[in-house]
Symmetry: C2
Subunit: 526 residues, 2 copies
């Protein structure tokens, strides 16, 4: 497929007024053709107009129609073939198995949402039948379902060019909910975005849906992105990226005449707690698997384990020795973009130059211009507590800080001081259960996911997943951006009182024609 | 019971630094004893400290313990007896049957939430069991439940001194979710608040709960209220009141280092659509029941029908004639506070003095200083569309505006121009179904509840109710403040990955010991 370097608005291909967005191959710093034409207010207006025009029809498509649409997107993405894998590799520096795996995850995610749409749980149907004989007042017939909130603006990150980009988790869940989607393409992978965008365009056409269900815009985040969030036809925002980027969108969304929800997944250092018996029993194994998680994908995951907490002990020294050796052996890996690499270097330097932080180990130096050299640092809990910057510092990449605590109480105190997190990890054996149990209430208040004897990287796309957490991990702790529950972000309840069946949506008809789980008079009918 | 005029913080009674809050009997303008001592930052700090200290224990009370607590509050409120009814009548000007009915609703609401807590649907339990044999990667065990968000600040309105005040819908749903509650007493009914607050205090003690589960503070909204929302231990806000008050709290909540959700129910004019055949068949009956809804409780309901839309026709003239006569006959009723009465008069005068608005009728003049004289006005759709103030004007009280449209298309156009609403009402007969159906998508986008052939006043407390809607009806259209779904406002999901059963909350144990509905591998088990 010849890449055109233009925005996709509905079924159209639309040029912009600039031509200065190039993907960079981070392995060699070279520009990749073609240049992408950045749009502005005019393109936002066109895309949002089409999205708005499509909204009422799209949100009332049948469960089956919408599920087939999601499945068709997956099929069309697979049909692109190796061109997609190669372009994504060139634009991201990520290796082939990772991109192939991510393509599988992206398509699997779309198919999961298709099954979620069909099951209809998301409608949250509640029926309280009329009680005409009730005293002192009769009850009228009341029925509730959830409806789509409206067109959604999606901003993906650089680190998942497929699974959290154009047809990734935010788009899939919004489309599943019945919301048209306007994606702002990430400038780090414009070609991958165009390929996937055209696959979605084809699916829209193939399924006979209104064209405005999907658009893909190129442009600067500050201008086009802000204009998109400010457009009154946009009713929610999905974002994965930096704290600075997320809070800027939150501000715009809250300043609108009609404020709208922003689901921003932003910042997390993902504390790992190593308990004494686990450390005693298997410090080496924990250290090796830790470094595996730390350096996976050059550490470029939201769930990268950036903070390790443990009580001072000989076993902790063993952990540090083994981790140090593993980090030193770790190969350099190309980072996603020159900017990501520069930020990583700056973050590592802040630790290196910090008077109270000791460098434990650095990984292998790379030969490429944007290679990640892993880094492990160490400090004490009292130093960590004394410097707020240390508590908040997310260094995006394979960098982690081990905090040595003088006691279990101090460890718990450090945990209480942490900001909101996506994950919290426990390494525990039988004898650690009591102290781990005492820490759980703190972790439940701090994190969206708590895991034992594993590592936070590797986020399963399923029904029970929570990829979310208190601020600043996300802007809205009431939700998840990964897994089937993500659909609820783009829905709101509507109650229908005493409506004749002819006006009721079929989800609420008496005979349960959609065969979905309902709450009838407060009792669950599966 | 002797009223003490002080804040209730945990089990303590705490004076403040001012003594200038008096209830006013709106029927005669007289101050009611005792004066209430207003608190400030110190009282906020004390209450939030106790709430925070209580949080972890309270949120892990068993379903049964928490349900019994809610039921005990109801029993204690009933045990106050007639003193509560008389004080609420004196402070609100509302008649005895209304206050008695509201007490019943308040206690019924608490008992409904007790049943909701026991049923455990709110936990939203999801279990994705481990799949160790899955290819290419095994799946770990993942389980999700919802947990309470944290202490909640509650601000009630003047118009429901019981059902939306100290132990009203916001408090009941927050306590049901496992959140301690700090209520800022409404200065219009401080004595009613104290009586109910002491009933909750007793229930906390009786149930052996940590005292910080409940506090009640007196003070000014601007100072104490803002300090409460700014306190970092408060994690969500429930508010019912004016748009100005709600948006001020939203701003404070968003400006915190950790922004928190504000559930503000604010402003709605509740459009009513009269369709031609319904009007032809029963203009008189619709007009009479309309005026009944309009003047009920002196029109002091969030769901008061403040806007009536219909296409010009002789039947609409009949409606107007009959409504005019009914308004003229309508008796004056004491309004809630001097301020409410003054705002009502100002709002009515804005309509009266508007060059393009015709006065259809005024109700009977009252003899009390704060009586509501009902008012009905009329204008055309073109005038309505030409003046944004007319589209947004909520006059709190028995005042409504009839907008005459030249065609069905114009009526739909007007509907599209409306802001977000709590309700939208259709009066329809068989022949109106097609045009009503065409209007539904607009109404679904605009309102939280759509009702047919009834009136929006009278909000049933049940499972399917939605008392919510797009901004500015509320600050968050994804929820409801009335009905059992209100509990979800104060919950967030937490995922537990690979945790040994000894660390898992019992809601997530394998054998389903709580016997609750669960989603297992995406399949609903009732």
């Amino acid at each position: 497929m010849t890449l055109e370097g233009k925005s996709l608005i509905g079924q159209r291909t639309v040029g912009g007024n600039t031509a200065d967005i190039y993907a960079i191959d981070p392995s060699n710093g070279q520009k990749l053709e073609p240049p992408y034409q950045g749009g502005g207010q005019a393109e936002v207006d066109l895309a949002c107009g089409k999205a708005w025009a499509a909204f009422d029809a799209y949100r009332e498509t049948s469960l089956e129609e919408r599920a087939v649409f999601l499945e068709t997107i997956a099929t069309e993405i697979e049909a692109i073939g190796d061109e997609l894998v190669e372009r994504a590799m060139a634009e991201s520096g990520l290796p082939r198995p990772r991109i192939e795996g991510e393509r599988g995850r992206t398509c699997g995610q779309l198919r999961l949402f298709a099954s979620v749409v069909r099951a209809g749980e998301w409608l949250d149907v509640r029926i309280d039948p009329a009680l005409p004989e009730r005293q002192p007042m009769p009850r009228v017939d009341l029925r509730q379902r959830h409806v789509a909130t409206g067109p959604v603006a999606v901003f993906g990150p650089s680190n998942f060019p497929l699974a959290f980009s154009v047809a990734g988790g935010d788009s899939a869940s919004a489309l599943a909910a019945g919301c048209p989607v306007v994606v702002k393409a990430h400038s780090a992978h414009p070609g991958t975005s165009e390929l996937v965008g055209k696959a979605v365009q084809k699916a829209v056409k193939h399924c006979g849906l209104p064209e405005g269900v999907f658009s893909l815009l190129y442009g600067s985040g500050r201008d086009l992105g802000q204009a998109l969030v400010a457009d009154l036809r946009i009713k929610a925002v999905g974002f994965t990226g930096s704290r600075q980027g997320g809070t800027a969108l939150m501000k715009t969304a809250q300043g609108r005449p009609e404020p709208i929800p922003v689901y921003a997944e932003m910042s997390s250092i993902n504390p790992v707690f190593l308990f004494p018996e686990a450390l005693n029993n298997r410090a080496d194994e924990i250290a090796k698997t830790f470094v595996g998680s730390l350096t996976m994908g050059a550490g470029q995951f939201c769930t990268n384990p950036g903070l390790v907490l443990a009580v001072k002990s000989p076993a902790l020294d063993t952990f540090l020795d083994t981790a140090s050796a593993a980090v030193k052996e770790s190969a350099a890996q190309t980072m996603l973009t020159p900017g990501t690499h520069q930020s990583y270097e700056e973050g590592v330097n802040r630790f290196s130059n910090h008077a109270k932080v000791r460098e434990v180990a650095r990984g292998q130096q790379g030969s490429g211009p944007h290679d990640c050299q892993a880094a492990l640092f160490q400090t004490t809990a009292s130093e960590f507590l004394a410097d707020e910057a240390l508590q908040q510092e997310e260094v995006f990449g394979a960098c982690s800080l081990v905090v040595e605590c003088s006691s279990n109480d101090e460890l718990k105190h450090v945990a209480e001081k942490l900001e909101g997190q996506l994950t919290a990890t426990l390494h525990i054996d039988e004898g650690d259960l009591t102290s781990a149990h005492a820490l759980l209430p703190t972790l439940e208040r701090k994190a969206g996911r708590i895991l034992a004897n594993g590592w936070p990287t590797g986020v399963e796309v399923c029904h029970a997943m929570v990829h979310g957490g208190p601020y600043p991990a996300t802007s809205d702790s009431r939700t998840t951006s990964v897994g089937s529950a993500a659909i609820h972000r783009f829905l709101r309840p509507v109650c229908y009182q005493n409506l004749p069946e002819g006006l009721l949506p079929n989800a609420l008809h008496g005979g349960n024609p959609l065969d979905i789980s309902r709450l009838v008079d407060g009792v669950r009918e599966a």
